[in-house]
């Protein structure tokens, strides 16, 4: 397939792999930040192409994983109301809250709909003036501009029966939280290409300088990831810590400025809780005061809903690269994709779910 097969070429993959093997002289621990990259790594078996000395750890870049449990409970509370049409991207519906998931709300008679764009939710609101239409605005800097646009348009078109339940998180503060932790092992990062397509990558320069880590903006296809790893390993071997861009076909340093302007217009930066990690200051978006009427958390008064995570789950350690899924005693036993205990098992992009699905058993027998 054009624009995809070129980046899945086995011979080129082998050549990149050979080069990584050739230049690696010591152990390096590299984190791919984004869940989409984790997914590609396990789906294509990319880590089989890396030397043992290059260890990939899977970062917190899966929006489904890091959305806190109480937000899911809030979504469920809102979706259960008879006057509400609750809209969401598909993979949030399966994420278990404390007691239910959104599929169960739907089975109980709630109007829960999978949509592909927040603008579709706005359209539903326009067509159903007697209903309250809520969109579950989850994700990183990638999904935020479209959500900002939906709120902006709702405001411009005076659509009052539309609101969003915001759970937007930001990548650079998460990287900083990982780097500043006392037991950090991560020596280099593959930054998420699509996040940088929106935001650019100037935000990473101070991080690379302060913590002396190389950061390589990387795409999602097998060759992208192998090339990103090669660039990162090269820097580590040479003792450099620059911000480099592997994903040049999509990312420019200043990013997508109209998208950034829309973000700034509608959202402001605030503290967010990350599932498995906890509160990170300045790590998420919230609606600005002038758009607060579109905030579902306020509109439906669900802020008081709190939830506790399972004590058996080590997903926070997995998200920060301290542990691998196999290190968890609950992995594959009490915690499975059908009955996830925590963040990293709930989404197909979560590290535990990806390991469960693709590495349920070792192939090296």
């Amino acid at each position: 397939m054009k624009y995809l097969d070129e980046y899945r070429d086995p011979d080129l993959a082998r050549r990149l792999s050979d080069e990584i093997h050739r230049i690696t002289t010591r152990h390096h621990c590299i984190m791919e930040v984004c869940g989409g990259q984790t997914h590609a790594i396990v789906k294509f078996g990319i880590d089989e192409f890396l030397p043992d000395k290059v260890e990939l750890v899977h970062g917190p870049g899966c929006p489904v994983c890091v959305t806190p449990l109480e937000l899911i409970d809030q979504a469920i509370a809102i979706a259960s109301r008879p006057e509400v049409i609750f809209t969401s991207f598909g993979d949030m519906l399966r994420v278990p809250g404390s007691h239910l998931d959104l599929f169960a709300v739907k089975a109980n008679g709630g109007d829960v709909r999978i949509i592909y764009s927040p603008l579709d939710a706005l359209k539903i609101a326009r067509e159903n003036p007697d209903k309250e239409v809520v969109f579950f605005a989850v994700g990183f800097e990638t999904t935020a501009p479209a959500n900002a646009m939906a709120v902006y348009q709702a405001h411009a078109q005076r659509i009052a029966n539309f609101s969003i339940l915001v759970s937007h998180v930001l990548v650079p503060p998460a990287i900083e939280a990982i780097l500043s932790s006392t037991n950090n092992r991560v020596q280099g990062f593959l930054a998420a290409g699509h996040v940088c397509a929106v935001m650019g990558y100037h935000e990473y320069d101070p991080l690379a300088a302060k913590y002396q880590v190389p950061i390589v903006v990387t795409g999602f296809e097998p060759l992208d990831i192998l090339q990103g790893v090669l660039m990162c390993v090269k820097q580590l071997e040479e003792g450099r810590h620059d911000v480099e861009n592997q994903y040049v076909r999509s990312v420019i340093k200043q990013g997508n400025q109209p998208a950034q302007q829309m973000l700034t217009r509608v959202f402001e930066i605030g503290t967010r809780k990350w599932r498995g990690i906890g509160q990170i200051p300045h790590s998420g978006f919230q609606l600005r005061d002038e758009y607060r009427m579109y905030d579902a958390e306020t509109k439906f008064n669900v802020r008081g809903i709190q939830a506790e995570e399972s004590a058996d789950c080590i997903s926070g350690l997995v998200l920060q690269g301290h542990k691998k899924p196999f290190d968890c005693p609950a992995f594959g036993t009490t915690c499975t994709p059908e009955h996830p205990l925590g963040a990293t098992m709930v989404s197909s992009e979560g590290a535990c779910a990806a390991y469960y699905r693709y590495r349920g058993q070792s192939l090296t027998t």
């Binding site: 999978i114 097998p222 499975t336």
Partner: protein, 349 residues
């Protein structure tokens, strides 16, 4: 054998543009519906509605018998409709046992308010599909449920087929060394229905792959291919079918992603939505397990069959990783191809 069909609905639509509860009540309206729409489905007057049972004349020691229910939204989608699915699905289940389709029952549950022209279109499609698959509809039933208690039309079909060869076509016959062949490109049905249901527009129209599989199976058997097992790739797609067989045989299915045919537009649509074509439903696709030394001949027969030109040899059965499906990814690494936990859902990003 095929009767000429009037392409327009024969009911006086000024009176009944929609199905009413009375159409299922046993009174005049029901008889009108039977006479004007359903009677056309029964080619042999011995089987025409009005009798409580069909009386069959089947001369075979071994019969295959299967049943399936069909619910799909939308009822009519690019490349097919629920009527076609309901015939082909059951005919194909018979074919997967190596049976020649003989007769079919047809149960319809209609929702009050269903447009009469839609019912007509679906019934016409049932008739055409039955003709194409050379199966007779011999008995049937219709009920009407209150508006809001159905999804337009639900269909149940059961089928009987005859087995006139000595092969045991079943997972228990699969052996290490067998070749795994798929009869064409994957994931078209699931993506066609999804695109229609969700209002997604792609550059090219993706149409369902629904079709009857009985003929190509009989061609394999008639050519003395020692068919070990056949499995259609409906819900859960190729991945589920191979996992079921791997787990029941305790053998391993080793397949090569680069050899699995997926049309470019379908692959693009899947990529866009974060879906894996290996898990997407098909309605006219199956895998055949045949002895390794007969693989080329079997593949040639399939590729010669109209519509199956993209059939391909996708892998082999081994003993190396019992009960697992191993996929060699496009870049050459191996991974386990597992069953999905639930439905495949479009990913956030």
């Amino acid at each position: 054998m095929t009767t000429e069909f009037n392409p327009t609905c024969p009911l006086p639509i000024t009176q009944h543009t929609q199905v009413q509860l009375a159409h299922g009540s046993g009174g005049k309206l029901m008889h009108q519906l039977i006479d004007q729409i359903f009677a056309h489905l029964y080619e042999d007057t011995r089987h025409a509605p009005g009798h409580d049972s069909a009386v069959l004349n089947v001369s075979s020691d071994n019969l295959a018998y299967t049943t399936d229910s069909y619910v799909v939204n939308p009822l009519i989608f690019p490349g097919g409709d629920i009527g076609q699915l309901a015939v082909n699905g059951t005919v194909n289940d018979l074919a997967m046992a190596g049976a020649r389709a003989h007769s079919l029952s047809l149960g319809l549950i209609l929702e009050e308010g269903l447009d009469m022209p839609t019912l007509w279109t679906v019934c016409e499609s049932i008739r055409r599909s039955a003709d194409a698959a050379r199966i007779q509809i011999v008995t049937g039933d219709t009920k009407v449920v209150d508006r809001g208690k159905g999804d337009g039309i639900f269909i149940n079909t059961s089928g009987i087929g005859t087995i006139d060869h000595p092969l045991t076509i079943a997972p228990s016959s699969v052996r290490a060394g067998d070749a795994i062949i798929v009869n064409g490109d994957l994931a078209r049905h699931g993506m066609a229905v999804m695109a229609m249901r969700e209002g997604l527009e792609f550059e090219s129209a993706i149409t369902s792959d629904t079709c009857p599989l009985g003929d190509v199976v009989m061609e394999l058997i008639d050519a003395d291919i020692e068919v070990h097992c056949l499995r259609d790739l409906t819900r859960g797609g190729l991945s589920s079918a191979l996992n079921e067989i791997a787990s029941s045989t305790r053998l391993s299915m080793e397949i090569d992603e680069a050899r699995i045919p997926v049309r470019e537009d379908v692959a693009s649509a899947c990529e866009l939505l974060g879906l894996d074509p290996l898990y997407v439903a098909n309605e006219g696709r199956f895998v055949a397990f045949v002895p390794g030394d007969q693989a080329e001949r079997a593949l040639a027969i399939m590729q010669d069959h109209p519509g199956f030109g993209s059939a391909n040899f996708i892998g082999r059965v081994t003993e190396q990783h019992p009960s697992l499906v191993i996929l060699k990814s496009r870049i050459g690494a191996n991974r386990i191809l597992d069953l999905l936990a639930g439905d495949q859902l479009p990913r956030i990003c």
